[in-house]
Amino acid sequence: MSDPILRLSGVFTDIAQYHILQGVDFEVPRGQVTMLLGRNGVGKTTTLRTIMGHWRARAGQIVLDGQDIAGLPTPAISRMGVGYVPENMGIFSDLTIEENMILAASSGPIDRARLDWLFSVFPPLQTFWKGQAGNLSGGQKQMLSIARAMVEERRLYLIDEPTKGLAPAIVSTMAGALRQLKDQGASILLVEQNFSVARALGDSAVVMDDGRVVWAGAMAELANDASLQERLMGLSMEAGH
């Protein structure tokens, strides 16, 4: 196994006077899906936002492919090849689907073959290509958000709760899309509350609690140990969701 694509060590992030991240350490291995798990409010989204540079880490290192990116501005981090799907999807609802995708392909025109692939994964995007993104349903917006991240090959994908609040049929579309991305050998850091999705996709898992990483290991190990889940996340994820 080569060096990890992303490594966080001792990352502290404050939001106003609140200490949200209190020394986060973990690694995202190259070409794998790493699940970031934990209860609500333990700092998962803040971790992703800190990696993206939306929040500035007060201390600690964030190393992407050998380069410390902590403190870099968001656009620079993005240009290093980080695709990001934020928690709120970040859709530009005033723009069309097409315009959203054009913006997402920040290094040039959209690659035709890749777009056809995305259309096959998310058919509604093709259907409403010239329509306003604001008129899409919630699930379609989530598809667009993920497609924007996937429109170019990225070194690392940061994806924040892609199945939140979606109907079961759309959840499986999402899971299928992420599976295809994984099969292409992409490196993904995925926040996910839906345990069956997490178990199906994850290679390794990182569990956070109260602004710190409390457990890291193979996803299979966590998935097969209900008492470990109970201890780490306060509930057996098998029962939830």
Binding site: M52, T74, P86, G90, E99, M101, I102, A104, R112, N135
Partner: protein
């Protein structure tokens, strides 16, 4: 551009009212023209007033558009925007005074060349000033509205005083270039040539601006940035640079508007920008802060209403705009075309 859909299914169908909703603001323009037609007894006066109302509206739009975009993009409220109008007017008019031999010649080509030179100089000066203003005055107070209002107001006072230092406290009178004086008569209505020119310039600028915002990548970035700047940055675009560019462009447009307004009034003072700012505020509020289309519609409404009312009841002209603002805010508290902000 990249792919065509195989078919075009409809998105959920909305009721008539809901589908009409987005177009209602545009319909207000013919509505207010119709009001003028009914209220004003003579057809030719109505035509004259409509042209001058449109001319005034176009000029206000040119001056206001930068301010509304700057707000939309970075949530920056610039109370000093009016100072670019004054500076533009002083620089442009000074150039015109120097080029008197060109403006006094009875040749339209020479006149327009002089105006072009004045406009370019004014836009360059206000563009540079805008850049400096952004760096010195605005940048340190990002994200703090209260300080922005105070500091930009302070900047306005300082620059206004500097105008007086450089050009003196007296107002400067100017005649329009020879070929643009007087009026042409159409259907019995006298229409000043200069106002027709102003309508033309305004319309062209609006079309160019709309094209830029709708059809170019930079326009996409600006529109996306108005809604969710953070996501635009997460896609790899340096919003801050875009913002500075918009700020400079907006300042230059205000400078252009200042020259046009100066020639329209045929007199300029250091305080002119501050006075026009009142109309600009009304326009951007009723249009919806951050919306260029709303700003355009709002500017035309204000221009037309102001001219009609000034004809019908001169003393009520300024109050009528306040009335318009109240009426529109009662209808849509966020302005005619509210700007969606992602939270």
């Amino acid at each position: 551009m990249t792919a065509a859909p195989d078919h075009r299914p409809t998105m959920s169908r909305a009721g008539l009212g809901e589908r009409l909703g987005p177009y209602l603001p545009v319909l207000l323009i013919p509505a207010i023209m119709l009001f003028g037609l009914v209220a004003i007894p003579s057809m030719s006066s109505w035509l004259t007033l409509t042209v001058s109302g449109l001319a005034m509206g176009m000029m206000i739009f040119i001056m206001a558009s930068g301010m509304t975009l700057v707000f939309g993009l970075m949530d920056v409220i610039n109370f000093g925007h009016g100072v670019f109008i004054s500076v533009g007017a002083f620089v442009g008019i000074s150039i015109l005074l120097v080029l008197a031999h060109m403006t006094e010649a009875p040749s339209l080509a020479l006149n327009l060349a002089a105006i072009l030179a004045a406009v370019l100089a004014a836009m360059a000066a206000t563009g540079v000033l805008g850049w400096a203003f952004e760096r010195v005055i605005v940048k340190p107070v990002y994200g703090a509205h209260l300080k922005q209002i105070l500091v930009t107001m302070g900047g306005l006072i300082v620059v206004e005083q500097l105008i007086i230092v450089l050009w003196g406290p007296e107002e400067i009178y100017i005649l329009r270039p020879e070929a643009l004086q007087g009026a042409i008569t159409f259907a019995g209505a006298a229409m000043e040539k200069y106002r027709l020119l102003a309508v033309g310039i305004g319309a062209v600028l609006f079309v160019v601006m709309r094209y830029t915002l709708r059809r170019t990548k930079i326009g996409l970035i600006v529109r996306a940035g108005v809604e969710n700047g953070e996501m635009v940055e997460a896609l790899g675009y340096r919003l801050r640079l875009v913002f500075v560019g918009v700020f400079i462009a907006g300042s230059a447009l205000a400078g252009l508007g200042g020259v046009m307004w100066g020639l329209y009034q045929e007199v300029i003072t250091a305080h002119m920008g501050q006075q026009i700012m009142i109309l600009i505020f009304i326009v951007v509020i009723i249009g919806g802060l951050g919306s260029v289309e709303g700003c355009f519609i709002g500017a035309l409404l204000v221009g037309l209403l102001q001219n009609y009312i000034a004809f019908l009841e001169p003393k009520a002209a300024l109050i009528s705009n306040i009335g318009l603002m109240v009426a529109i805010l009662m209808w849509r508290p966020q302005g005619m075309i509210p700007v969606v902000k992602a939270k």
